[in-house]
């Protein structure tokens, strides 16, 4: 299952990402994956913070909202899109190329380049989708792989749920 996540917009300043990460570590919050992102806005970066215990979300959110660098903290729950990006170098004889290409097509991936007996590929998808792709690629032999934690985005601009429970400071 994909964890609920908080999306954190923050000013891109010296130490601002460190401050967020060190706060999350210091407070011992139950976390899933964390992804550091750029945005279309100059000077604003974004982080998707997976929270493995739904009940901890209000506390994590309030603590993150205290940081002066943090511009906003929003909840990306079930309605949000969660996507991961992966790359892998997989063993692949020239005879297996067509087979792997069609496998990738079924899982939202594509080949980036073919070597003598390898393929470098990329894929995007939600967590279970990439889990399934990697399970299928194991059959050929994965030499090296890299996979991000999810990044999340909501379909709608969240309306402010400021009272109690959550925090509206600086959102």
């Amino acid at each position: 299952m994909t964890h609920p996540a908080l999306t954190v917009h923050f000013a891109d300043r010296t130490g601002s990402a460190d401050r967020i990460l060190s706060l999350l570590r210091r407070r011992g919050f139950p976390l899933g994956g964390i992804t550091l992102e750029r945005t279309h806005e100059p000077g604003i970066r974004r982080m998707t913070v997976g929270v493995s215990q739904e009940s901890a979300i209000p506390q994590v959110r309030r603590h993150l909202s205290r940081l002066p660098d943090v511009v906003s903290v929003q909840v990306a729950d079930g309605e949000a899109m969660h996507r991961e990006y992966a790359m892998a170098r997989v063993r692949c004889t020239p005879e297996q190329r067509a087979e792997i290409v069609s496998l990738l097509g079924a899982f939202g991936g594509r080949p980036l380049s073919f070597g003598a007996d390898t393929v470098v590929l990329e894929a995007t998808g939600f967590a279970q989708q990439l889990d399934a792709l990697f399970a299928a690629l194991q059959v050929y032999g994965i030499e090296e792989s890299a996979r991000t934690s999810p990044i999340a985005l909501r379909q709608e601009e969240p309306h402010e749920d400021s009272p109690r429970g959550t925090v509206s400071e600086r959102d």
Binding site: R13, T14, G15, D18, R19, S22, R26, P58, Q59, R62, H63, S65, R66, L67, P68, D69, S162, P163, R164, V167, S168, E169, R170
Partner: protein, 569 residues
């Protein structure tokens, strides 16, 4: 008391021409209303000190250790409500400030710390006196800023002050590479306002009406007031609310002096070493109005058994504190004074005589005192008699601190200053320097044990430089008393590393140019304290107390009021 001034022309006038970073720092500090800073120079902060030499608006107090500078700035801030400022160099200067920053962070004290840093080209090269102070202080500051260009210095300093004093106050560190202090840039003073948002008025009104109804219908309510009442200067609002509703008030260690302890509604302090009646009252209360406090473990003990019958209304300026520790029936996000003033107009006048009688019954009669060694109760009663009514007690950490909290009886707002959250031994003496500089016309007493006074004792020379008039009481039992007490209760009486020797404090006082007296028997106590008050300048009173006296009552760590240990005497 005279602070050194330099007969130089003012550097603090706005001008159009570019100027060096060090001078921008001085101008920005002056613009923020700073008049005194506590510090210690060194290589990487020299350009700032050079600019300081030509800035008579800023009075610099040369401490004898950077930790002293941080505590002095802390004491100054608590005494005045202004942002305290301390300065140090890179590397060891900065790391020496870490304890003081952590102390201010835990106790929500507004402070700005400025550290020099190695020049930009030397950063990250393990250069002489280089430390990643931004990394080191990240967990003990509200915010920290590495200033990479002189043009950013002014805005960074103004932002630091705004962050330090906005909302829940706290320390902010500014790290300035040496070449940035030399670099030329333009500077225009600008004040920064931090964006803050509280719930809308409609939401607050709804919360307040609910809270008022809970208080109106409660049969055994109490008010649990913390540091937030003092930080918001909300003592009058607290008193009005308590008197109108007839609800008794207990104040946390950092909330002491927010409500007069001689008031019939005062219950004193709750918690591990709190008054028995306050702890029993919390245990039986049906509604608790907790304001500007954070349910520290020294207050709650075992959280699941804390206030088991109570519906809790929790007011805090920091939303992250709401529902952090205890479940809350009515959280209210806001400034303590503002919320109490508004609530005071909504509640109906009431009395709780039966409830008060019941609380009275939990108070143990004070024990009879004999002649011989000074009993802590005698010591603090005597200080209370002899000190001016508006005297401030700055206390250290340990048994001396708990006795000062239990036994003095604070009647005037903000006259009790201590290291609560961090529990920093060696806090009292340097903090008291800042307190007296902030309150030059009022008596300032230092209460410390023979352990704590030996940490940061070097500041006695700073005290001498400044001609401060501190009345220093050493509660001397020859032990690190609180640790010894725990060893006695929980470690089979094995006094591992807790017996501690002391220098001859009378000779020591004299060496620093102060006066000193020793009190061996309680019959000598009053005369010694009166002598200390009469003596111009700083006087040290070394009071021998029973070596193995414990602080009672005590609720062992992580337990409830039912495990309270009372004085067997």
């Amino acid at each position: 008391m005279a602070l050194a001034t330099r007969p130089m022309s003012s550097a603090a006038h706005a001008g159009a021409e570019p100027r060096a970073g060090g001078r921008i720092m001085c101008e920005a500090l002056v613009h923020e209303g700073v008049r005194v800073l506590f510090g210690y120079p060194g290589g990487a902060i020299m350009p700032f000190y050079d600019a300081l030499y030509a800035c008579p608006e800023l009075q610099h107090v040369l401490v004898r250790h950077e930790q002293g500078a941080t505590h002095a700035a802390d004491g100054f801030a608590r005494a005045t409500g202004q942002v305290g400022v301390c300065v140090g160099t890179s590397g060891p200067g900065a790391t020496n400030m870490v304890t003081g920053l952590a102390n201010a962070y835990m106790d929500s004290v507004p402070m700005v710390a400025i550290t020099g840093q190695v020049a930009r080209p030397a950063l990250g090269k393990d250069s002489f006196q280089e430390t990643d102070v931004i990394g080191v202080t990240m967990g003990v500051t509200k915010h920290n800023i590495l200033v990479e260009h002189a043009a950013d210095l002014g805005p960074a300093i103004h932002e630091a002050f705004a962050i330090a004093r906005t909302g829940r106050p706290g320390p902010v560190l500014i790290d300035v590479p040496k070449d940035v202090q030399f670099e030329l840039a333009d500077y225009e003073p600008a004040s920064v306002d931090m964006p803050r948002s509280f719930p809308s008025d409609t939401e607050i009104e709804r919360d307040l009406r609910r809270a008022a109804q809970m208080l109106d219908t409660a049969s055994s309510p109490i008010i649990l007031a913390g540091h937030g009442v003092l930080l918001s200067r909300g003592w009058d609002a607290l008193r009005t609310l308590a008197e109108r509703t007839g609800i008794p008030v207990t104040t946390t260690l950092l909330g002491l002096s927010a409500f007069p302890e001689s008031h019939p509604l005062s219950l004193g302090m709750p918690g591990m070493h709190g008054h028995a009646s306050a702890n029993h009252a919390i245990d039986e209360a049906d509604v608790i109005f907790a304001v500007g406090m954070r349910f520290d473990d020294r207050v709650t003990g075992k959280v699941t058994e804390f206030a088991p019958r109570a519906q809790i209304i929790h007011v805090d300026i920091e939303t992250a504190e709401l529902e952090k520790v205890v479940p809350t029936a009515q959280p209210i996000h806001g400034d303590a004074r503002d919320i109490m003033e508004r609530l005071g107009r909504l509640v109906r006048p009431n009395r709780h005589d039966t409830w008060l009688d019941r609380i009275q019954g939990w108070e143990r009669p004070t024990e009879p005192l004999q002649d011989g060694l000074t009993h802590p109760a005698q010591l603090f009663a005597a200080i209370k008699r002899i000190a001016g009514s508006d005297a401030t007690l700055v206390t250290d950490v340990g048994q001396n601190q708990m006795w000062a909290a239990q036994l003095y009886g604070y009647d005037h707002p903000n006259t009790h200053i201590t290291s609560g959250g961090l529990g920093t031994m060696g806090f009292a003496l340097p903090a008291a320097m800042g307190v007296q500089i902030g309150r030059p016309d009022r008596q300032v007493w230092v209460i410390a044990g023979d352990g704590g006074i030996q940490m940061n004792i070097q500041e006695l020379q700073t005290v001498a430089d400044l001609g401060l008039e501190l009345k220093v009481v050493i509660v001397n039992n020859g032990y690190l008393g609180m640790v010894r007490q725990w060893q006695s209760f929980f470690h089979g009486g094995r006094y591992s590393a807790t017996p501690i020797s002391s220098p001859n404090y009378l000779l020591l006082a004299r060496a620093y140019g102060h006066a000193g007296v020793k009190v061996d028997r309680v019959s000598e106590l009053d005369e010694a304290l009166q002598w200390a008050v009469r003596t111009p300048g700083t006087a040290i009173v070394d009071v021998a107390v029973d070596q193995e006296r414990n602080v009672y009552p005590m609720i062992p760590s992580g337990q409830s009021v039912r495990s309270m240990i009372q004085d067997p005497e």
